[in-house]
């Protein structure tokens, strides 16, 4: 592939004029977005702001009515398998008959290719990914018997095993206990420090400044984007959350240095 085919290759994620509609009004309107490589980026916004839709559209799971998306200059169809995706935990049936290792191995299904079953090498990689999220002792546990936080870690291990330069996580901290959140954040920071780009749909404004270094504020349209220190301002919060701000303004994060 020659470099002429690349469009905006300097950005890990480049979104231009993206508009998504499910038949009614727009869910996302005229999104222009650039996320540089090697940052840990939060996408925040109120309920219904289109956070999940934005990453689904970026991943090609939702068809936009307008606009385009590039990862390192390439359309998503040419980045398949090289974007680690962690969907919302509640998007699947955890009573599915599978062990934690089975689920993690799913992250290798594409690189294995057609007709090949995961073997010893895949097993070893899956176990290593489980160890990275601190779940090595649960490899053969039924996924139904895992706690919510453990299920979330299995999902993250499944994305890790892809060894992808970009990770996109949809509310990974929703409904997990504090210890798990700590493990997840430490892991994501480690990945970021190793040069990966980590994009997280996040719901807890109080932790934005301590967890992330890049911020996208979304409410159907982009309100603000950039380094957290510059973007996390009362004006932007008000513009993003409107009336709900009263609760958020009391968030203790402002006390952080």
């Amino acid at each position: 592939m020659d470099d002429h085919s690349l469009h905006e290759p300097g950005h890990a994620l480049h979104v231009e004029d993206l508009t998504v509609s499910y038949g009614g009004g727009p869910v996302l309107w005229d999104i222009d977005l650039d996320i540089p490589p090697g940052v840990m980026c939060a996408i925040v916004g109120p309920n219904g702001a289109g956070k999940s839709t934005l990453i689904k559209a970026a991943l090609g799971l939702v068809r936009p009515v307008a606009g385009h998306v590039r990862f390192f200059g390439r359309p998503v169809t040419r980045m398949r398998g090289r974007i680690g995706y962690v969907p919302q935990r509640h998007s699947v049936d955890w009573d599915f008959p599978a062990s934690a290792r089975d689920v993690v191995e799913m992250g290798l299904y594409r690189s294995l290719g057609w007709f090949r079953r995961p073997g010893a090498a895949a097993r070893a990689r899956a176990l290593a990914a489980l160890a990275e999220v601190g779940m090595q002792d649960y490899a053969d546990r039924q996924i139904a018997q895992l706690s919510g936080g453990q299920q979330q870690r299995v999902f993250i291990a499944r994305a890790l095993v892809q060894d992808a330069p970009i990770l996109i996580l949809d509310e990974p901290m929703a409904g997990v206990d504090a210890a798990t959140e700590e493990v997840i954040v430490a892991l994501l920071k480690r990945l970021r420090d190793a040069g990966r780009t980590v994009i997280v749909v996040h719901h807890d404004l109080t932790t934005v400044r301590s967890y992330f270094d890049w911020l996208v504020m979304l409410n159907v349209r982009i309100v603000a984007q950039g380094p957290v220190a510059r973007v996390y301002t009362p004006e932007n919060l008000r513009a993003t959350y409107g009336r709900q701000l009263a609760m958020i303004a009391a968030a203790p994060d402002d006390a952080l240095p």
């Binding site: 991943l59 799971l61 398949r80 398998g81 049936d93 062990s99 089975d102 689920v103 294995l112 057609w114």
Partner: protein
Amino acid sequence: MSVLADLLASHIVRTVLAGAALLGAIAGMLGAFAVLRRQSLLGDALAHAALPGVCLGFLIAGGRDLGSILAGAFLAGALAALAMMLITSRTRLKTDAALGIVLSVFFAAGVVLLTVAQARGGAGSLGLATFLFGQAAAILRSDLWIMGGIGLAALALVLAFWKEFKLVSFDPDYARALGLPVALLEATLTVMVAMAIVVGLQLVGVVLMVALLIAPAAAARQWTASLGGMVVLSAAIGAASGAAGALVSASTRGLATGPLVVLIATAAVLVSLMVAPGRGLLWQALAARRARARIGEGRVLAAMQGLARAHGDTGYATEGGMLATALGGAPTPARLAALERRGLIRAVVHPPETTPHWELTAAGHAEAAALADPAGRAERSP
């Protein structure tokens, strides 16, 4: 045993037996995927929707030609699936409403066509009604080859695309993000289910066919926690139900095979829901009972240790009546007996009283202390 041998001596019985077992295996294998993808009811709609296709196939072929009847059934099923897809994607109706509408409309059209076909008469048109509930005896040797071929094709597909089908059944969004052709894989699974239904129409009929998809899979899920185990077991339960239904039907005059197969498969579900280890209702009831007993026993131990401490005497003999008062009700003799069996308390006499007395053993003291401090217990146990 000789009854069985007599039955198997009959050519027809052997054919029906093989057909029912084969159908059960195919439906069981594919049903596992349908159930995991929450598409059991799609199977029901496809089965009912096959009826107009059966009748049209008959009318066009001008007779009971199995090839055109099955082709008609398959096309009608595909049309129904398409209609459902359009209704859910283009209107605000949800999947269940779309299923209900398509199922009943296609079935009604089928019944109308059935009466038309029967009014036209012609040899064999009366036999069309057997597609409602199936007629196993109508199965021919040649039909077995068709069923066997479809079964082998389905097996080959499932083996070839095993990991893809697994991922698509568990998490289609992730599969799509990985770049797998999810729509194609899902369509393949659905078409295979439709094929299984079509081959089952003769035997079980459009009304009951869905049970053969759901029941073996639901039963199998209770016993195993791996997809491979579930698919194999589901196929085995389906095959066994088919064979058993065929045999019972053959040994008793006038009992229809299809409904018997369905009843037997459903019995397997019932048994599995009750007794399967871990997931079965009886199993869970037993576990709850055991937990209750443990809590009750723990309270007895704690009360006895409290009394022993209050008296500064680890061997303090507690009178049964005191325990009953402390616990707000007599600890049942069975509970005390269980504690004694576990070596945690022992019966003692405490003259001059003649009532039963109990004292904690050393193990009982340790257990009571551990119960009072569950965190410490968790640390100690590996």
